[in-house]
Amino acid sequence: MNPFEFEFMQRAFVACAVIAAVAPLVGGFIVQRGQSLVGDGMGHVAFAGVGLAFLVGAEPVLGALAFTALAGLLLVRMGRAGLAGDLAIALIFYGGIAVGYLLSSRADAGQTRLVGLLFGSPLNLTWSEVGIIVALSATVVAVTVALYPRLVAMAFDEQAARVAGVPTDRMTLALTLMVALVVVGGMSSIGLLLISAMMVVPVAAAAQLASSYKGALGLASAVGAASAVLGLLAAHYRDYAPGSAIVLVAIACYAVATAWRSLTRRAAA
């Protein structure tokens, strides 16, 4: 059966392809800064916001947005104060998931709903939820385009960028908030614990093949979108968990890109 005939699949394709295409645009900068796991940590913090939203009867996306934005501000402030050590960051992130589960269980949110948020449930999205994902993604794209030269300069060499006059503190804050937007955007489609993979894995795959930063980001975005579509097709035809299938396709892309680069290097040698 053609999966594109079903409206729930159409919603899933739009939401997952859009967020999976946008996530690597942010991921390209965090990978370059050696912060590949920051998205994962933000997912943990977002879960605390979701838990609180469940408890007070608010929209989970609002709780996740508020908590990730606050965590982003806190991390940047800690960084300025020289307190953003590995342990401090770990405390915030692990505290987030612990608080999230505590609040969710108090709110009696239901295991199915929680698993759906942690690992994605794109087949259950409504059009209004797809609209929120598209709006968050569009915001991330607009900010990335607007700040692109400064983000590249900072990601490549933060100290040189500071000396060149780039406001690196503000750029770090913007980047952290963009990570938060991607995490919230990917929450109900790919999952809080899996969306960070889509910030990192497509970038790692594209880095094997591209010869420029812009080329790598463009290719990573394409790899992300293609992984979403192929993962959803696998989920449809083979009854796989969609979020997991999407991430595993992206990892397969990375393996293929690495093998290709290795082969072409050997051939050139």
Binding site: P149, V152, A160, R162, V163, A164, V166
Partner: protein, 238 residues
């Protein structure tokens, strides 16, 4: 009416700085004049990179004042007047980055959101690419170039804003003899023709001998300044 005194590109006035383990620099004063080439030398851990980072505002002194072009470094905003070439190790990249992108990143602070690059910026890029002999390497991945070529790309990035002060940190580390010769020629041109002030931090005297007007030796928390050759436009203090 007397002519106004020339403004020094870089001045450190009674600067002290320490990490947790104690003072690294104590009551250090140094000024670098326009068109002056100053080499900063010293053993590993002596504080020469710390001195340079204080001068660029990357570290805040515990005492004393740092001025760039006469203005306190904390309120200084005309950063296009300063070019900085960090150690090449800082150029390691997880993502591929082309030579052109590296050079272009030097103009990031002046880029306007959603605007195309100005003709002046394009002309400036062309100029530094030509000056550093990078014409054929613009689209090459930085990581796949030789040490000397990478260094030239980083210098081009520092020069793309047409700075009046250039600070280089260990620029000849891992660079072959041919590339060192090219680098010396470029620096000589910048100082003698363009009147740029150059601060050259290195443990290797071969890179600056014959070019440096003063050598600043950093050791034991203080500095010793040695005149090497005439510095007509310099302000020499120590």
């Amino acid at each position: 009416m007397p002519a106004p005194a020339p403004v020094c590109p870089l001045e450190l006035d009674a600067v002290s700085f320490g990490y947790n383990r104690g003072l690294v620099l104590c009551d250090v004063s140094l000024s670098v004049g326009q068109g002056e080439f100053v080499a900063v030398v010293g053993p590993n851990g002596s504080g020469k990179t710390t001195l340079m980072k204080l001068g660029l505002g990357l570290l805040a002194p515990g005492a004393g004042q740092v001025r760039l072009f006469g203005e306190d470094v904390t309120s200084f905003r005309r950063w296009w007047q300063v070019g900085y070439v960090p150690q090449r190790a800082a150029a390691r990249s997880a993502l591929p980055v082309s030579v052109e992108e590296v050079v272009l990143s030097g103009l990031a602070a002046r880029a306007r959101p959603f605007r195309r690059r100005s003709p002046e910026a394009t002309a400036r890029i062309e100029h530094v690419v030509e000056l550093l002999g990078l014409e054929g390497l613009r689209r090459s991945r930085l990581a796949e170039l030789s040490g000397g070529q990478q260094q030239r790309a980083l210098i081009a990035r520092a020069l793309v804003t047409a700075p009046r002060l250039l600070v280089l940190d260990e620029p000849t580390t891992g660079v072959d003899a041919g590339a060192r010769t090219v680098l010396r020629g470029s620096l000589q041109h910048l100082v003698e023709v363009e009147g740029m002030a150059v601060v050259y931090v290195s443990h290797d005297p071969e890179g600056f001998s014959g070019l440096a007007q003063r050598v600043v030796e950093v050791d034991g928390g203080g500095i010793r300044v040695r005149d090497e050759r005439p510095a007509p436009r310099s302000v020499a203090t120590g």
